[in-house]
C-alpha cells in the first residue's frame, strides 16, 4: 500500500477531478486519472456498443474511447473546442472518457459523500455517491454544486464482454 493511500485513509480526504457532461457535474477519483488529452477523432471499431467511439493511440497502447455521456444514458456529447478525453485506469486497463469540459481538481472529505438515491440516477451502479463542493466562481449564489462521483470499476469495459463479444 502506498504512503499516499495511507495518509488519505487517515484523514479521509481524497482528490477528485471534476468535469461536466451537459449541465451535470461529475467527479472521478484523481488516483485513476492518467492524463487529460485534447479530443481527437478515434479510429472507429465494428461490432461495439454505440458508446465506444473507437480506439486511439496512447503512447503506443491502443486505448478505447468512450462517450461517457452515452455510457451513462445521457444525450451524446457534441464535440467542441473544450471537449477532451480523460484517460483513466480501471482495474489495470486504460480507457479514454470523452467529457464536455474538465472543471477542477478538488479535495473532498470521504465523510461528506452521500450515497446516491436510487431514483435520481438511471444507472445506480455507476454512481458511487454524491458530494457537494464549492465552486470557484464569482457568482456567490452558485457557490455550491453537486458532483456525481463515478464508480469507475462499474464502468469497466470488459465487464460487458459477454454482451458484446457473443
Amino acid at each position: 500500500m502506498t504512503i499516499a493511500e495511507e495518509t488519505e485513509t487517515e484523514t479521509d480526504e481524497r482528490k477528485i477531478v471534476t468535469f461536466t457532461l451537459g449541465h451535470q457535474m461529475f467527479g472521478i477519483d484523481m488516483r485513476a486519472l492518467i492524463e487529460i488529452r485534447e479530443w481527437e477523432e478515434p479510429t472507429p471499431l465494428p461490432s461495439v456498443p454505440l458508446y465506444i467511439k473507437g480506439v486511439t493511440n496512447l503512447r503506443g497502447s491502443v486505448v478505447p474511447v468512450v462517450g461517457l455521456a452515452e455510457r451513462l444514458g445521457w444525450e451524446p456529447s457534441q464535440i467542441h473546442s473544450r471537449s477532451c478525453i480523460l484517460v483513466v485506469s480501471i482495474a489495470g486497463k486504460q480507457a479514454g472518457f470523452l467529457v464536455d469540459e474538465v472543471a477542477d481538481i478538488v479535495v473532498i472529505n470521504g465523510g461528506d459523500i452521500q450515497p446516491a438515491p436510487d431514483v435520481d440516477v438511471n444507472d445506480e451502479s455507476v454512481i458511487a455517491g454524491l458530494v457537494k463542493i464549492e465552486r470557484r466562481t464569482k457568482d456567490a449564489e452558485d457557490a455550491e454544486t453537486m458532483v456525481l462521483l463515478l464508480d469507475l470499476d462499474a464502468l469497466s469495459l470488459t465487464r460487458h464482454l459477454t454482451d458484446i463479444a457473443a
Partner: protein, 712 residues
Amino acid sequence: MSGDSELDEIQGIFFEECAEGLTVAEEGLSAMAAGDVSADVIAGVFRAVHSIKGGSGAFGHAALLAFSHRFENVLDEVRGGKIPPDEAVTQTMLNAFDVLSDHVKAAQFKTDPPNDAAMLAQLDALLEHKAGAVAEAPVVVVAEAPVADDFGFVPVVAPIEDFDPFGFEPVSVSLDIEMDVAAPWQVRFGPSRGALANGGEPLLVIRELEAMGGTVTAVDVSALPKLRDLDPEDSYFIWTLDLPGEMDEQAIRDCFDFVAPDSLIEVARSAAAPPPALVDLAPVTVEPVAAPAKPVAAETPSARSAPTPEVRPAEAAAQTIRVELSKLDQLLNLVGELVIRNSILADRLSLPDQERVELPDLLRLTRQIQDNVMSLRAQPIRQAFSRVPRMLRDLASETGKKVVLETIGETTEVDKGVLEKIGDPLTHMIRNAVDHGIESPEERIAAGKSPEGTIRLSAEQKGARIIVSVSDDGKGIDRVRVRAKAVEKGIISADAVLSDEEIDALICAPGFSTAESISNISGRGVGMDVVRSNVEALGGRVEIHSVPGEGTTFIMGLPLTLAILDGMIVRLEEQRFVLPLANVIETIRPEPGQVKATSPTTEVIELRGSYLPVKRGSELFGIGANDRRNPEDSVIIIVESETAGHVGLMVDTIDNRREVVIKSLEDNLHPIRGLGGATILGDGSIALILDIDALVAPPPMQVKFTQKGIAA
C-alpha cells in the same frame, strides 16, 4: 496489511516454482521410465522435489511438506544408488509424482490434501527394502566420552551440529542425576581454533550468555602459549560462567548453535550451594581434548582441500531471471514505437539520405531488438504438453482404456500469451479423445486393433500460425448419432442436409454432448464448444477430421505470436486496415465486367475461368453502407481463409506492405470478431488488423458487422 498481500504474492511465486518443478520432475521421471537413469536425470528430479519441499515448509503447507519430504528421501536413496531405479521403482515414483501434483494443487487452491497413505506406505516400503536402512532423523553422536568433573557430576557434551532448533530436534540426552531444580547452571566454554576460522566470534556467545543473566566466574588461560608461539587465529581460553538455575537448558545450549563442533561446551547444574568463590579458587583442570589440538579444520582456509561433491545437482534449470510479463509487453510496445519512428524518419529524408548506411543500420538494429524482445516471450509448447501424460494416466485408470501418448514438435516455440491459453482447450481435446474416441481394449481387439489406443499430440509452425493437433486412432465420430443428437437438442432441423464435415463440426456446437452416460471425465460440464470459443478468442480456429473406424483429429490453428504481423495496408473509405499477408494470394485490378452480381447483394469475380465470391470490405465493416463503388475503381485482393477457401475482398486502394506490431484489443477492451487487433501506423494513427478467417467465414459463423454511428 501489506504483509498479507506480500506473502500472497510470494506464495504465488512459490506455486509458479512448484509448477516448474513438477514439469522438470515429470520430464525426468518420464525419461527414467523410458530407460534413461543417468545421474543427471535422477539428480534433476531430486532437486525439483527438494525445492518443492523447501518452499512448502516455509509457507506452512504441512501435508505437502510431509509428502514431498518422504518422496525426497526415496529420491535421495535412488540418487545415492541405494535404491536401484528399476521399472517398478520408477513406476512407484511416477505414482508418487501424481500424488505430489495433487498435494501442490491442494495447497495452492486450499482444498483438502489427497489421501496419500497408500502412496506413503509404498515409498516407505522402498526405503525399507533398500540396502542398509537409513536413519531418518539425525542421531546424536556424543563425540567425547563424558568426563566426571571435580564436582562429581557428568557434563553432557553434545556436538553442536546436532542442535537444530529450527526443524529437527535432536534426541536430548538427559542427566540422570537428581538435581535441585534451582541450582544454578555452570557453563564451560572453550572455543576451538575452528570457532574462529569460519567467521565465528566466541566472544558473542559469552556476551549472549551474559545478557541472559550469566556471569563469567573464571577464565582458564593455562593453554595460552608464549607470545612468540601465539597464533592470532587460534583460541586458547576456557571460560566458566554461572547462569541462573531457572533457565532452560536448551536456551543455554541454543547460544552455542553456531560454535564449531570441536569446541569444549559443558552445561551442567552446579553443586547445591551457589559457589562463585569456590570456582574461583579452584581452576578447572582442563583435559587435553578440550585444548585446541590441531583439528582438521585448522588449516588455513586457502589451503583447505575442497571436498568434491559426490553428486552434482543436474543443471537442468538454465540460469534465468523472472520478469513480469507486463514489463516485456511494455518493452515490446516501446520497440514498436521505435520501429514506427524509424519509418517516419526514413519517410522524411530524401531518397539519397535514406540510402546512407546509417539509416539501414539503424533499421536493422531496431529490427534485431524487436526480434529479441519477441523471442523473450516465446516459450516451448512443451510447457502445455507436459500436463498431458499425467492426465492420460488418470483417464486411463478412470476409463480402463489403455492409451499410449506420442508427442511431436514439443520444442515448437509459441508466444507466452498463446501458451497460457491453450492449456484448457488442450485438456478438453485430450479428454474428448479418450472419452469418445479411443475404444475399450476389448472393442479394439474385436476391431482388429492393438488393445492400446494411441493419442498423438503434435505442434508445428506453419507460416505465422502454430498448428496443434490431437489425433486418436479410435472409432471416429459416429455421425449418425451426432446428427440424431443435434436434432434432438434442436441444434439442427430434422431435414437439414449436412456434409460429413458439417456433422463433425456439430460437436463444437454450444450445448452439444454425445456422452450417453455422464462419465467422470465428460461430466464436468464443458464441452467442445468451450474449446472452440476459447481458441477463437485467441484468433485461432478449430478443425475436426474424422474417419469412421480409424480415428479423429482435432486441429487448433493458433497465431504464433500475438506481437507482429506481415501485413498489407489497405484503405476503405479513407480508413486504413491491415490485411495479414499470410492470407493474400494475389491482387487484381478488375477489368470492366470481370465482377458480376449474382444477386442484389452478392458478387463474384471471374478469375482464369472460375468464379470466386467477392466481399466488399466496406460492407463487411458497414463503412459507406450504400457504396456501390465501381469494381473497376477498386482493388480485389484474393485471400485464402481456413474456413471459406479463396475469396475476393474488395477494397478501395492498397497503400503499401509492411510489418506491423500487433496491439491487442483485449489489453484495454475485449476481442472483437473480425479483427485480429490493431496497429499504430507511422503517423501515429491506428489501423485495425483484419481477421480474414472470421470475416469471410460462411454462415452461420459469419457475423455481419455494422458500423455504429460516430459522434460528430
